[in-house]
């Protein structure tokens, strides 16, 4: 008989165990939701410092207004008001490579650059800058963009970035991913020929990577954060619906074009 090992939870008639602790007596009322989310994903309880960085990341990524994802969620509720889970799922499905991907791509890029570095990691800014310059140069030579650099709206600086650096510094958690990301911000202009801001989704990816999460999982935290934002949009859509109106407005702007040939 195949067995499926898990470290998450079990339950029997008398108790529910989560992460090796009794849910009712040891978790409820004693662990915050953010703390539980970290613990479930990492299988270890975060320190207070780690939790402060983690919660700041979730808060930073929770919402960006009427994104394609939020609009899709609202339109889905318009068509299927009986299924809140469907509207939420539709919203999350738009959280792919193009929008939420930056958090993950940036974490992966930084992790790969650190992994490719031989010898001990830098201990001063100059050495970080050298490592950053090598990574940017290699990325440019491969014809690829540097994930986390640039933002379509916040062209002169993403307001979340300095705050996240400060929170991580205050927490004593300015790890190698964040330090390399900061160095990228310092050294990229001459290499790329223009000055770009370090964006907020990217700095969140760096911060999550410094918390020890594997790169493949980073998108998941952006999705968790976004779930709260989408729930806000859907609650608002229930109170004062605009989905029908977005649909009408869009449909009225459609122009029929005969297929070519």
């Amino acid at each position: 008989m195949t067995e499926y090992p898990t470290s998450i939870g079990t339950s029997d008639a008398e108790s529910i165990t989560l992460l090796g602790h009794d849910l009712a007596s040891e978790m409820m009322g004693k662990v915050s939701f953010g703390e539980l989310a970290f613990w479930l994903a990492a299988l270890r309880r975060p320190s207070a410092a780690e939790l402060s960085v983690f919660e700041a990341v979730l808060v930073a990524l929770a919402d960006h207004g009427f994104t394609p994802s939020a609009i899709a969620a609202r339109l889905t509720l318009t068509g299927a008001p009986e299924s809140l889970q469907g509207a939420l799922a539709a919203g999350l499905l738009g959280g792919g490579s193009r929008y939420l991907g930056v958090t993950e791509d940036c974490g992966k890029f930084l992790a790969a650059a650190l992994a490719a570095h031989e010898g001990p990691l830098p201990t001063d800014e100059a050495d970080w800058d050298e490592l950053a310059a090598r990574a940017i140069t290699a990325q440019k030579a491969a014809g690829r963009l540097v994930p986390g650099l640039g933002h379509p709206i916040h062209k002169h600086g993403d307001p979340r970035t300095p705050v996240m650096f400060r929170i991580a510094t205050d927490a004593g958690l300015l790890g190698p991913h964040l330090q390399l990301f900061a160095a990228i911000g310092r050294v990229h202009p001459p290499i790329l020929g223009r000055t770009l801001p370090l964006n907020g989704a990217g700095v969140c990816g760096a911060a999550l990577a410094d918390l020890g999460f594997p790169p493949d999982l980073l998108r998941g935290f952006a999705l968790l954060a976004r779930t709260a934002g989408l729930l806000g949009h859907l609650a608002e859509e229930m109170r004062s619906p605009v989905g029908e109106s977005i649909y009408r407005q869009t449909d009225e702007s459609v122009r029929y074009v005969p297929p070519e040939g």
Copy 2:
């Protein structure tokens, strides 16, 4: 030109505003993720007491082991490992009327019973018991179950229920929905002919309703909580996959039966 009013957020080149506050300087590092989730849905910041109840609900509902929802999420990751958002969405889609519905159904049942009550709400236990008895009797007469009563596994008492009552009491938030739910627990045995436990999903629905959330939205908080649980399952599935094995095991147990007739 149609406009879409929103109270959630906006952004321009210099700033991101969330709920009327500057995201970077007033939210990040100052508001927990659970607090932000409440605020986004309610459009008002919770008090510390409200937040304690709200976070306890999210913790209580985050995970129940290998549920249909968690298994579906893992199997979806097996088939589409490149799309974490798809696996998460698939898991949420199982959070419908049968599993996560109890939280919502219980909140709705209690809200309807309170709305149907004429005159001021009870102030003592005897009056609550009378109101509860009327609601249960009417539900029974209509041939319907009382949502929140009974649990397939925790037949003699759901361990989350007394803890949630205590947390709400400590927070000074034992409102009419929770009081009616408690009364249902006291008076149902003679009416229904058997003694059933007040289940944990139900007490969470009552607590959320007492926090002022509309019944149609309650399922959403169960889904938010479950997102953290699903992320835990998917992180585990990435580390030590069992999806392929669940698939093989299930497929081997399939027996072909010719269609009838």
Copy 3:
């Protein structure tokens, strides 16, 4: 050991069996896709007449332009271009009670009216009209709309309706659901005080019910039909994307409103 009985398909090293037939030698090239879809759902092969009605229903329901569902699918592709399955899924999730539900609701309403009728079914138009009048009167008395009556755009007649009746008549498949639906079209004006068209989604529900499909499954055929339509939208979105533009247009029309109170 639990076994899972299935009549759909099995495979071993040498062969793939679908519905009791060898997929490669007996199905591929010999059964159309529409025919297979009927067969999979009904577990019996349709006659040529049944197939003509079934395919006409799928064609009728495949697309309705830039619906909320099609817009959501396009926006999801904008955010997650790497996951066509996610965009398709997001589109289907909008196929709920409000849009695709009419097909199902109408089928259920007709089936319930037929089930409630005592004695043999009518054999002439006058008796069908009487049965229809009773069903409409009861629905009106309960304060509910008659599903399948009325259309937001085709106010003076849905062009699909007469064609579907003709196709079913030509196929010799004008069964009790379609006959009752036709009678509803004849008798409702004096009862409801206004003349409404029989809509195309409703007549499709009646036709599917006459083919013997259970009411709970009817929405599924609308979803299958819509999958082809959504694939058309997504193919077009890949060729000449408008998702980004819909997003920008919508986002520019957002107006921030401070939360009340």
Copy 4:
């Protein structure tokens, strides 16, 4: 005012136009569902020969028994029986790179090999074999597998493959992708050091590419085909549910393992 050009469909009070034709009078009853699906995606009506290949592909890909995707759809229906669209969406979400990806990956691999070939395409088998050998050798040198070669179950030959070649040959549609795929089947053993079957999902990808569909869209047809299969599974799940039992069986096989460290 931004306009959204579309060649799919439009409607007004009197008519519904699909692909430039009147839906009611020119499409319903005159175009099969498979034909409409081709037309919607390609924006041109298929010839009878093209349709025969296209329908054979859809039939070949419709179902593979209790796949992760079918199991996820059934489990989702168990949890949310009110939302057939959610169960269908959950099933489709498992149709990603690992399962349905072969169709797309194979089409892309063949298209890239053809695009890389300089000069006119081969006209005899020997030249196709040479082109195939170069493509396989390059893929092997890059440390990558050849998509469409090998099958976990049909180790000695996928029964769908020769049938698809025959159907395409009979239709006069044995185009360059299929010819290259056939050559890969002939020449790979000495290069790869073992003999692998050409699998059915791969030959379907080659056939779709020969029909002129762009590689990025190929997964979409596998998803459309699978929608019919999933609907069959969900119809069966409604008649004789096994989702609850799969859940119980899986849950009973879970073994708690404390997190390491």
